[in-house]
């Protein structure tokens, strides 16, 4: 299983029936593929849709039904559309149960940086700041390291997305949480040892006596 699939499958286990879920671009988008069909999850696209379905078959797309990147999507029966004020009312009002977002850095306090690299990449925060600040539960889905550098850092060097800490980080090597406000290794990826995770993690991870392996 490749890293992205592993992450997406592990994140999918966090979703519950009835949840309203917002998936960011990149790895988070893949999560939808691993939600079992008996789980009735509502997926929101922040451009104005709840009930997003799979990419439509060739010849069955509509130019006015798209995801937040402007690509054609489908709508499931029971879908609904709305304007951006409602979309972010849902996000900021705490009605989104889970948001899954990519990350550049997460630090020991759970702070996420995922929207700019000063002087280099300034795309804008889009909806990310609202999602991290407003969603009931924030899950970061990302590679554990990039170009050999840990993305789980002691303190974010990049500009923060929100002062509100995230709830869970799922990487290709580990699941990390913040019980009691302390950054903690909760699970390791299959075949990865605790020592291996610690070796590639900059933040001072708290390590419980027993760290189970991801069950996916």
């Amino acid at each position: 299983m490749d890293a992205q699939t592993l992450i997406a499958r592990r994140v999918a286990l966090e979703l519950r029936s009835g949840d309203l879920v917002n998936l960011g671009i990149g790895i988070p988008t893949l999560v939808a593929n691993y939600v079992p069909p008996e789980l009735k999850v509502f997926f929101q696209s922040e451009n104005g849709l709840i009930g997003t379905g799979p990419i439509p078959e060739q010849g069955m797309a509509h130019p006015l039904l798209t995801d937040a990147g402007g690509r054609p999507i489908s709508a499931l029966p029971g879908a609904c559309t709305f304007d951006s004020a409602m979309s972010f009312g849902l996000i900021r009002g705490g009605h989104v149960n889970v948001t899954v977002l990519g990350g550049l850095q997460v630090d020991a306090e759970g702070h996420l940086a995922n929207w700019m690299i000063p002087g280099k990449m300034v795309p804008g925060m889009g909806g990310a700041m609202d999602l991290v600040t407003g969603a009931k539960r924030v899950i970061v889905a990302m590679q554990h390291a990039a170009k050999g550098k840990s993305k789980i850092v002691q303190k974010c060097a990049l500009p923060l997305t929100s002062s509100r800490p995230v709830d869970l980080v799922v990487t290709d090597l580990a699941v990390i949480g913040f019980p009691g406000g302390e950054i903690t290794l909760l699970e390791t990826a299959p075949g990865v040892s605790v020592a291996e995770v610690m070796a590639v993690t900059e933040a001072d991870l708290s390590i419980p006596d027993k760290v189970p392996e991801m069950q996916i």
């Binding site: 696209s45 006015l64 798209t66 937040a68 709508a75 304007d83 951006s84 889009g126």
Partner: protein
């Protein structure tokens, strides 16, 4: 309301105007009005919209033609030309969280003095902004936004000016239709009065100043 031509509608907009343009990555954007803005070379525009779309599409056309001097948006990462113009300081860009952006526009349209939001507290977004304490929590005061013109794209417009939208093409259009001095609308279909059921009208007719005829 008798529909006007795109030429007449855009001729009302002076250089240097502040315009809001509906749409999200070019979906639900009044393309014909943008084409006409480019043709009439309306420049030094202050543009308020969700994103910079992509070159050749939606508001992306305005960056292709270098007509924008100031941009307020939540995301411009998919338009390399807008990025380039920002980095070269040929346009001033104010990046705003998307929920804050739509709420600031709504505040402008609804007569509110601004928006109190936790989004952006403790980040660089808070710089230079008033912080307000309410019941022990801190909120940023984000100011209301209004514009001289709003360029709106609807799915259906009737001849009174009632508008309805389709699917994800609704996005910023309804709030912008409330926040501009002059509201100019294109629609996929212009229909007789009464065709849009009262419960399905999203933008009430009195908000609309000009409907642009379909050719």
């Amino acid at each position: 309301m008798k529909p006007v031509s795109a030429e007449e509608a855009i001729a009302m907009i002076p250089n240097g105007a502040t315009i809001m343009v509906g749409g999200f990555m070019g979906v639900g954007t009044p393309e014909r009005l943008l084409d006409e803005l480019v043709r009439q070379k309306k420049c030094e525009l202050t543009l308020i919209c969700n994103d910079a779309a992509v070159p050749g599409r939606g508001v992306g056309k305005l960056f292709d033609a270098a007509l924008v001097s100031t941009l307020t948006a939540s995301h411009i990462g998919l338009n390399p030309k807008a990025q380039e113009q920002m980095m070269a300081k040929r346009i001033a860009v104010d990046l705003v969280p998307q929920g804050t952006l739509v709420e600031r526009i709504r505040a402008g349209g609804c007569g509110l003095g601004g928006v109190l939001t936790p989004t952006g507290t403790g980040t660089i977004v808070e710089e230079g902004k008033q912080q307000i304490r309410v019941d022990g929590k801190t909120f940023l005061l984000e100011t209301a936004l209004r514009s001289d013109f709003a360029l709106i794209h609807a799915f259906l417009a009737d001849y009174l000016g009632n508008l309805s939208y389709a699917l994800t093409a609704r996005n910023f259009n309804p709030v912008m239709a409330m926040a501009a001095d002059t509201v100019i609308v294109t629609a996929e279909h212009i229909v007789p009065v009464g065709v849009i059921a009262p419960d399905h009208v999203v933008t009430p007719a009195p908000l609309v100043d000009h409907i642009v005829a379909n050719r």
